[in-house]
Every structure is written in C-alpha cells, then in structure tokens.
Amino acid sequence: MSENFNHAQIIKDPDDNYKILGTRPVRHDGVDKVTGRAIYGNDVQLQGLVEGAILRSPEAHARILSIDTSEAEAHPGVLAVTTSADFPDLGDKIANLGEGPVNLAHLAANCLAKDKVLYKGHAVAAVAAQNAHIAREALDLIKVEYEPLPIVTDVLEAMKDGAPLLHEGLLTNLVPGGEKAEAPSNISDHHHFKRGDTEAAFEAAHIVVEREFTTQTVHQGYIEPHVATAHWNQDGQLTVWASTQGSFSAREQTSEVLQIPISKVKVIPCEIGGGFGGKIPIYLEPVAAVLSRKCGRPVKIQMTRDGVFEGTGPTPASFMRIKLGVDEAGKMTAGEAWLAYDTGAFPGGVIGPGVMCVFSCYDIEHAHIDGYDVCVNKPWTKAYRAPGSTHVAYAVESVVDELAEKLEMDPIDLRLLNAAREGTKRVDGPVYPRIGLIETLEAAKNHDHYKSPLEGPNRGRGVAAGFWFNIGLKSAATAHVNADGTVTLLEGSTDIGGTRTSISMQLAETLGIAAEDINPKVADTDSVGYTDITGGSRVTFATGLAAVEVGKDIISQMKERAAKLWECEAADVEFSDGIFSQGDNSISFKELCAKLSRTGGLITARASVDPQGFTNGFGVHICDLEVDVETGKVQILRYTALQDAGKAIHPSYVEGQLQGGSVQGIGWALNEEYLFDEKGHMLNPTMLDYRMPTALDVPMIDTVIIEVPNPSHPFGVRGVGETPIVPPPGAIANAVKSATGIRMTELPMSPPRVHSAITEDGNGAS
C-alpha cells in the first residue's frame, strides 16, 4: 500500500510475541462513523419526541426569591415546565457513585438551582415544547426574581477572611483523615502531606528555586454538546438515551437525584462525541425525565454551546507556589508545594490528585505539600483528562527547568538523575511498582528531535515530564460464541476512541482468532453487567481484562466439548494459538464452533472484574517553537510525545491518544481560558472566542511508544489516555524561556500575555 500513515516508533518489550496485539485493525464501528449512520445522543428519534430547553441564571451569585412559570406554561406549543420544586429534597446525602463520593444535594442543585444560584449560567428552570424554538421562546416568559449577592471568582480572594461565602455552613475537610475545620469558609478541602525536614533540607541545599504560577479555567471542549433524552413511561419505568462516559454511573446519578430505584431506570448509551471527563456528571438526564413525566412524552434536551461553556464543569483555575532544592550534583533534596484550585460553585474538586501528582515524577526525600479546594462563583469544576495533574506539572517542570539552567545541566539529565523508578516512595506514601519514566526520558534524550540542532532567532526548545494514574474499577463482559466461529461480545464501556476494538483484540488474542471475528456491542444497563465509567485511562486495562477472563472461560468450556468429541478428559485437552489438541487429535477454534450445537449447545461466557490497584503512566514531551516578538504569538514548530504505554494493544489508537492529548495541552498552554467580567459573566462562551487549536495551529505530532509492561495485567496494558495532556504547558513554557529568556508563570501564554511579558522585560532589562 502506498500510503504512509507514519506510525510511531515503538520500543518493544523483548518478550513480546503476540499475534493480534500490536496490529492495527479497522475499528468495528468505523463504517457507521464515516458514513454518518452512527447514532449519537442528538440523533435519537422517537415516536412523539418533544424538545426541551434550559433557563440559565444571568446572575453569578443571587438568592432566588420567586419563580413564576405561568406565562411560559400558557405559551402555545409548550407541554411542560419544571423547576427544582418538582425534585425530591435530598438533604445532605453523600452517595458513593462508582467513581467517588458525590453530595447528592449539590448534584441535584447543579441540575436545577434550589434557593440560590451560584454562577452565571446555573440552570434554573426547563421547558418542554413541540420544538426547541418554542421551548426557547417560553424560557423568556419565565419570571425569576433574584436578590443579587456579592461575588468572588478568584481563588485567592475566595480564601480570604470576609470573602463572600457561597455555602454558609461549609467547614473545611482536613484531608486525609482529619476532622473538619471549626469556622466556615469557601475552602472545602485542605490536603496536607509532609515527609522529612524540609526546612533543614532547604537550608542545606546548593540551589533553591521558588516560583509562583497561575492558570485559568479551561474546558474539555468536546465537540458534541451535552444531550439527553428521557421517557418516563406510565408504568414508572424511566428510559434515558444518554451521551455519557458511564451508563451505569448516569443511571445511579439519575436514580439518586430523582429518588427512584435503579431498577426503574434504564440508560441506553448512545455514541458519544467526546468527553475527556466532562461527561461523567449528569446535567440534563433528571430534568428531561421530570419534563417527560409531566407531559407523558419523550423529551430530548440538547445544550446550546454557551450552555456547555457556562453550565457544565470545566477544570479549575489555580494558584501554585513551588519550591525545589538540589545539592551540588543536582540531586533534589527538598520540595515544597502550596496549591489552591478553584472548585467552582460546589465543593469537591480535583486538588486530591493535584497533591498526589505534584512531585510524582521525582524522588524527593524531604517534601511538604499543602493543597486547597476553594469554592468560587464559577461553574462547578469537573474532571478534565488527568484532572489536577497538568496544573502542577506546568509549575514543577518550569522550576525543574530553571534548576537545570542554574546547574548548567542538560534538562533531561537532571530529570534522569531524579526520576522516580521502581521502589521510589511517593510523598503521599505508596511505593512505585515497575514504571517506565527512566526508559521514557532515555528515549527522549536519544530521539532525533532532541539531538537535532534548532536554529533561528526567537526559537526555543523545551522538555517536560508528566504523570497520571490509571484506575482499575469494575468492568463486566459477556460473550456468545457463534456457530460460524465468531464471537459476539457485550460490554458496558461507552466507546469514545476505539475501545470496542482494543477490548475485542484482547479477546481475539486470548482465543487465537482474528480481531474481525469478534463482534463487540456496547450494551445498555439492562443488558450487560455493571461497568464503571470510561475514564481514568481504565477501559483498555480493566474492560480488556474482563474480555481476557471471558476468553479463558470460553476456552475452558470448549475444552470440555473437544473432550466429548475425543472421548477424553477435558484436563487433557490443550489450547494454543487457536488450536485445541490432545494426543493426535486437533481441531481449530472455528471448526470446534461448528460442532458446538451438537455437543451441548452454543456457549455463553461472562466475567466481572474489579482489578485492585492502579498503575502509572509517564510521558515526556519535546517542543520546538518560535515566538513572534511583535505580536506575542507562539508557533509550535516541532513536537514529540513519548510515553510509557505498557503494551500498545492498537498502536494507532495509542498514538491518537498521545497526539490528541498533546494538542489539548498545547491549547491550554497557548490560548484557552475562560475570561470573566467583574459580574462573573463569561465573556467568551463560543468556540470562536474560546480559542481551541485548529488544524492550522499545530504541526504533526511525533510519537514514541515505550512498552514497559504493567505487571498487573496479563498483556502488560497500561492506560494511556490521560498522561499526554500533562507535559505540554511545562514543555512549552520551557521552550518560550529558551526562545525569549522570559519565564512565563501564567497560563495561557496567549499573544497578549507573551507580548506584554516581552515588552516589560525589554523595559526592565535594558
């Protein structure tokens, strides 16, 4: 074939001799997705379907005095109107919903505000009508009386005594394991870790660098807006067609908010147009459900794009202070981090992973970390690809770069000297198993990109490392073996980027058949066993593991059938490379499938797994760029992402994760931010003004996959999806420093910020 799709360099594990794993079959859902036939959330068509719209608050902080919906209800074509008054009172119930604890009262009050609105864009009421135009007309007829309250949107301001309080009774949790603080504030959590004697270690250090950094709110930016369709049947059965990262999680959240049993809720996952963490929480599902109950018809609500920006959970803005000390040789001896992330309107942000990731790439003996989650009058922040890790990597990798400069050391050598490896104890305690940071750094150092010279004015090169966890969590799968030698695989992980195929390939490898002979289906919550969210870089790992277990079950059942054919003991039947054998007898998987119906019927196998423990993925990125000193615009010239990916099941999709994550990180580094006015109104809630990278903004993204097998998966799989977003802001900031001599301590490094930094530097220095 003439095409060069330019595959990644793969540094393989020498023991690897798989047949299916590592190949690049076309994804099973591919044809539907290139012909427009795939059914996404907004493509659902149902008998009698009507459309809904959401009324959002114009105030960033206000008490709701009254809501009058009578005129809207009387509007021709309107079928139902709802407010939080139609929802059960949930008190302060905290539920463990698969991926973590959720305060149900907050979850419900974010779907529709109760007595207060806490941010501009907070949902207040909803309408169902014959079509979306009429529904939106009716929104204008709902009269809401607000009593405006003072607002606070900056994370440091919100921490001060006397700041306007979003939640009057909020007492800070001291984490981990502490009690609650005594006086209310906007600080929902204070995390604290300490190891060794940082004071003495800094005192004794050869060089100490301390810097402060800020980052702004950024959004996941999936192209498909949130959408949900609900039908509340007269028998009390609720069916939800959702665009969600987890159909079981959406079912649990919906049933808890509505206080109906989970058995009364069926969630049918549609194809999902991107999530990146933002489609784990629910927003529309219970609202569409209540509207449907009121009007007796299925109701579909799709958010507007400004609704997505203003009403769903972006990732926090932050303030960070990082201090690192090294000895003469460059060995890091002491680290200190003070981190404040805004959680937006409700408690429960991502500072936890922030404090665990801040020094996770390095072995530092003396360390002290404080991290705060702080409520502000902005949308309730949610997970975004390696939540909390990109912030701290930007800050720490900038400081590490500065240390390398001061030590006159190669920045990769400094990282190699201090890199975490098997046996390194993280600041929060646990000790790393086999990890691949060293291998990844070495691959970066030996890469053509790093070794080739970079010439020209205002050009610079930067490197940075990044870390993220992979979580395990629960997955289930069921398989039906067909008489023609194919296998139908039912699984519950919504497929955002080709996971049907990466899971099927693991089953195919186990059975010794072709990936194309597996027919995967993402099933609804009534049709497959409980499966946690698509997130945490877990699906290829955990649902893949379920598929492997299903494969083992199929093999053991088929050995019994072969034993019947050959009148021997099943224990004497061997299976290898798709062939069952015993003595002189042998039969292929496919041939045996044809005999199943005569030896006891066709086979069904199932598995439900809950792998314990998480593994870790490390990435190292190299970036060349040029700064236009006249305008402050940064152009990326060359970019290479290297990652310890464990076994790359489908290398194209691993490359795709590295490339896509890198470009999201580039957008975060260079342009993306929520801009607010003094009233807390977002000024740029469109995809034109919230400036995500286009094809013209970025070069090709080179990738290197380093296969350091994960000891806790039979094929050595590590999750790869999230780590790639972590290094880019640090790598780019370091490259900007190398290009201009200026260290950018604020994200994004947008043209106005870079330009004014250059201007100020010029004025100050010369």
Binding site: V34, R37, I272, G273, G274, I496, V663, M692, T694
Partner: protein
C-alpha cells in the same frame, strides 16, 4: 411564527420538497425533517464545522444557512460520499489511518476534505491544514486527519 414555507431542493441527487419555518436552519431541516443525521450540531454558530454540507459544490456550515435558502440548490451531505458498494477513498483512509476517535467531527471533516480534493487533487500539508481549519476536532490533534487526506489524495491518483 407565520405560515410554513415550501422549499424544493436536491439532496444527494434526489429531488426533495419540504416545509419549513423562516427561522429554521438548513441543519435542522436536514437532520430533523429529512432525517439525515450525519451532519452534526456542535455549536450552532458556525465555529466548529461539524454540520458542514456542500451547497452547489461549496462547503457551508449548514447551521448558518437558512433552510429557505436551499430553494433550487444542490445539496450533498456525508451520506452521499460512499456509493452503494464502496466507501470513498477518504472514508477508507480515515478508517485505516485511525483519523477519528469519538467521530462526532468526522462527517464535517469528510465533507470539507472531499470539497478540497474535488477541486484540488494534490494539496500540500499546509493547504490541507488551511482548508480544514474551519472544522474543529478535539480528539485527534489533527495529525491523523491530515495524513488520511494525504493518503486519500494518493489513492485517488492511483485509481485514475
């Protein structure tokens, strides 16, 4: 709201007629009335390109076109790119080159890329990036999309 307006148009080679309100976009009619849901709504204000269709051979954001403007026009959507038996080389290359992840932007990219290759069979990388810069993709980082268009251009040359 007023009376509905009658519109005659051609879509994917078939003559169709529909009734619409003056305020309805072409995207709404294509998706909801004609049930061709391949074109996607990502922003409804012309910024993301997920709703791209060809109108008289020119790519347009169908969310920015009023349905009444389709009177007498020739429209092509993603549904018309493959023929009865075969995928278009662009579709093949998108699949073989893994140029989609979630796939929501894919119909828009395919329509834009087809318009590009129809008028300009051997574009440079820069030209591809420029012509596709009206289509946003949040998953792929564009690398594999650009390469798939390059590969399709090669493949179409071989077929000729």
């Amino acid at each position: 709201m007023g009376k509905k307006i009658h519109v005659s148009t051609t879509i994917n080679g078939e003559a169709v007629e529909f009734l619409c309100e003056a305020r309805q976009s072409l995207l709404e009619i294509i998706r909801d009335t004609l049930t061709l849901t391949g074109a996607k709504e990502g922003c409804n204000n012309g910024n993301c390109g997920a709703c791209t269709v060809l109108m008289n051979g020119v790519p347009v954001d169908s969310c920015l076109v009023l349905a009444v403007e389709a009177e007498g026009a020739e429209l092509e959507t993603v549904e018309s790119i493959a023929n009865e038996e075969h995928l278009h080389p662009l579709q093949e290359c998108f699949l073989e080159g893994a140029a989609l992840q979630c796939g929501i932007c894919t119909p828009g990219f395919l329509v834009s890329a087809k318009a590009l290759l129809d008028g300009h069979p051997e574009p440079t990388e820069e030209e591809i990036r420029f012509e596709l810069s009206g289509n946003l993709c949040r998953c792929t980082g564009y690398d594999k999309i650009v390469r798939a268009v390059q590969a399709a251009s090669e493949r179409m040359k071989e077929v000729k």
